[in-house]
């Protein structure tokens, strides 16, 4: 005898009933109620934790049962079997397996899936997107942290000419414009906009002194252009940001943005190495030594005593390691195998 509450589906009236099974039928009896229905016509709710389960009849009436063990016992005497997912949800082993599988999938998606998707996305996005983004980004930066360059026009033109005379390797992405800006906050730095425009900051030109070193840095930046790293990072951080906003929800978009920033800093290391490789190969292609890039890095380190947070080095991998890479295999000859 199983206690239940009967609702007719037409009013909120509660009627206490007891349920039992007689042959193929479910028998419902209580205050002014006494009927039986073939069990085949009864729909049994899934078990969701300790929530009450209902037995539903075709006319919209139902019985709400709170004694879940009692209901299980009653169901055992019928042909009813709980659904597969219903059983899996209660199976401790499968729950543990799901837990491990979900974590593994999340890690794999983050380590491999996200970079791959961002790379493909950056490759296939129509150029107009990169263009629009670059124009907007430059507008924002110019209003905030970039000021007009103080380097005289002749020097700017000379540098641009040298940059344009760099011969690209086969399949290299065409060069776009070189822009000069000044920024006390960013210090000695050069960076690439999503459409491939390279921005050179005054402090970089002064810190390098030698034009060949500046060319080496530009070769490295061309690596970023070639790999569309700007777009890739943008796609990665928006994907991670969107995911966290969606997942954590209404806490605060400020906090949701934080993981994206962390990811960006972490990912750039990988991309910096790719840019180094491209830059080194480009220098070799133009009869210059990849060691120049290493020298440029060294100069930058020296111009940033105490590893300042601002500047060219901040998001980059350990400079020592990069200098070793650049001075190592490249000196022997073009190791194009590690090119992207």
């Amino acid at each position: 005898m199983l206690q239940a509450s009967y609702f007719d589906g037409r009013s909120t009236r509660v009627r206490a009933v007891s349920l039992s099974v007689a042959g193929e039928d479910l028998v419902i009896a209580g205050e002014g109620i006494d009927f039986r229905v073939p069990f085949a016509d009864v729909k049994v709710d899934e078990r969701l934790g300790l929530a009450p389960r209902s037995l539903r009849f075709k006319d919209g009436a139902f019985c709400e049962v709170r004694d879940l063990d009692g209901l299980d016992a009653l169901l055992r005497s019928t042909a009813h079997r709980d659904g597969r997912v219903d059983r899996l949800q209660r199976n401790l082993r499968f729950v543990l397996f799901s837990c491990v599988a979900c974590v593994a999938i999340a890690i794999a998606a983050y380590r491999w899936g996200l970079p791959w998707a961002a790379g493909e996305g950056a490759k296939h996005l129509p150029p107009v997107i990169g263009k629009t983004l670059s124009v907007q980004t430059l507008k924002i930066l110019d209003g905030a942290i970039l000021a007009p360059s103080k380097i005289d026009q002749e020097r700017q033109q000379a540098l641009s000419a040298k940059f344009q005379s760099l011969r690209l390797q086969e399949g290299g992405t065409p060069k776009s414009a070189l822009l000069f800006r000044r920024s006390p906050q960013l210090g000695a730095n050069a960076f690439t906009l999503p459409d491939g425009t390279i921005i050179v900051l005054d402090d970089l030109v002064t810190a390098m002194g030698d034009d060949q070193l500046i060319l080496a840095v530009l070769a490295h930046e061309l690596g970023h252009v070639h790999g569309r790293h700007g777009l890739q990072l943008l796609l990665r951080s928006s994907a991670v940001g969107a995911f966290w906003t969606f997942y954590i929800g209404d806490i605060s978009s400020l906090l949701a943005a934080a993981p994206a920033a962390v990811v960006e800093a972490k990912y750039s290391q990988q991309l910096e190495r790719q840019a180094d490789d491209y830059g080194a190969a480009l220098l070799l292609h133009n009869g210059l030594s990849p060691g120049l890039l290493a020298d440029a890095l060294q100069k930058l380190t020296e111009s940033h005593p105490g590893a300042s947070k601002a500047g060219f080095l901040s998001t980059h991998p350990s400079t020592d390691e990069r200098m070793r890479r650049l001075r190592g295999p490249w000196a022997a000859g073009p190791a194009s195998s590690s090119m992207r």
């Binding site: 039992s20 934790g49 993981p259």
Partner: protein
């Protein structure tokens, strides 16, 4: 069959007038199993199973929510939710692309989205309410399309051109549209909060933010002066510990404010909305405490982040439990009196779109 009317009824039947608190009986550990299995199935089916997972999630929370000894229930069909999700996704992609890429199509797409949204949102209210029941009686939403365009399109436009001065007014009209058009069975809900009360909540929050910024400015200037003073005293040397401490305090205060605004607003506005909503003659009471809501949100965030998301089921249960248990129904008469309305049926498209775009700012 033996009649058991003499035995104790498994369901407590409320006589009348004593306030009925809503209670929530779900548990994080219990929900975890359901959540993780459905999450895995969703991933493996590339998202398709998410519609089924959503029905289960709602059923878990609804069935664990009790009023006067009976639970709520959710009856939405996963297939309808899936169709809704597909449409919502298409719209979301269109919307994002048209906003990011400003081209000649942008205006056209935005216009289409703007024209379709009010209708979808109104359908979403209908779907959600129609599929919610208590004691076998369904809720209904009977708001018209015209009202929906007024509330979303016209008031949204007014809010924009008045630089959000009209936002509290638009919010009040939205809740009035939602609650005045909601029914439980044949019994209608009614909404009594005035726009002035919404303005009070919004202004209170604005005042708190301004006061906080001023306070931080003063603290920052004070900190700078005391640092300078120290530098002078110690002959040009900065005490790095002091500097770091100042920066940490300022940064911490800033984060504290950032995480407090959302929950505080939510608590105040939710209280205002429900305390001014009635179901027929019955009153509803809600008293969420901003401090407790801040505490739950912040600790949930930290724990979810630390556990790489695995704390999520506990976090949801904690938040839902607190929100639900802050509500009470004050019956004017016996709760048995409600009668069901004639059945109607509708699509889920609107519901899903609203979930993705997340326009509904409270409950």
């Amino acid at each position: 069959m033996e009649n058991i009317s003499g035995g104790e009824s498994p369901t407590r039947i409320s006589s009348a007038r004593a306030p009925e608190a809503l209670s929530f009986t779900g548990k994080g550990g219990e929900y975890f199993g359901i959540w993780i299995v459905n999450l895995l199935l969703t991933i493996v089916t590339l998202g398709i199973y998410s519609a089924w997972a959503k029905v289960r999630r709602l059923q878990y929370f609804y069935r664990h929510t009790q009023l006067a000894g009976s639970s709520f229930d959710f009856h939405g069909s996963p297939i309808k939710i899936l169709i809704g999700r597909v449409i919502a996704l298409v719209m979301l992609v269109c919307y994002n692309f048209s906003v990011r890429l400003q081209s000649s199509m942008t205006l056209v797409i935005l216009l289409i989205v703007a024209l379709v949204m009010p209708w979808l949102l109104r359908n979403s209210f209908r779907f959600r309410l129609y599929n919610t029941s208590w004691r076998g009686t369904r809720f209904h939403f009977r708001g018209g399309v015209a009202g929906s365009y007024r509330v979303f399109l016209l008031n949204g436009f007014l809010t924009l051109i008045t630089l959000y001065v009209m936002a509290p007014f638009a919010h009040q009209r939205l809740k009035a549209y939602q609650h005045d058009n909601s029914y439980f069975g044949r019994t209608q809900f009614s909404f009594h909060a005035r726009a002035g009360q919404f303005y009070r909540v919004y202004l209170l929050l604005l005042a708190a933010i301004v006061a906080f910024i001023v306070l931080m400015g003063v603290a920052g200037v004070g900190g700078a002066f005391s640092t300078m003073f120290q530098i002078q005293r110690q002959g040009g040397r900065v005490d790095p510990a002091l500097l770091i401490r100042t920066v940490l305090i300022l940064y911490g205060a800033f984060i504290l404010m950032a995480v407090s605004i959302g929950p505080t607003f939510r608590a105040l506005i939710t209280n205002l909305i429900w305390n001014n909503t009635r179901l027929g003659e019955h009153r509803i009471e809600c008293n969420l405490s901003p401090l407790i809501l801040i505490w739950i949100s912040v600790s949930n965030f930290v724990l979810v982040a630390l556990t790489l998301g695995l704390f999520m089921p506990w976090a949801s249960v904690r938040l839902v439990r607190y929100e639900i248990e802050s509500m009470r129904l004050v019956p004017a008469s016996d709760l048995q009196e409600f009668e069901a309305a004639e059945p109607e049926s509708l699509g889920a498209v609107g519901e899903e779109t609203a979930t993705v775009f997340d326009f509904d700012i409270s409950l």
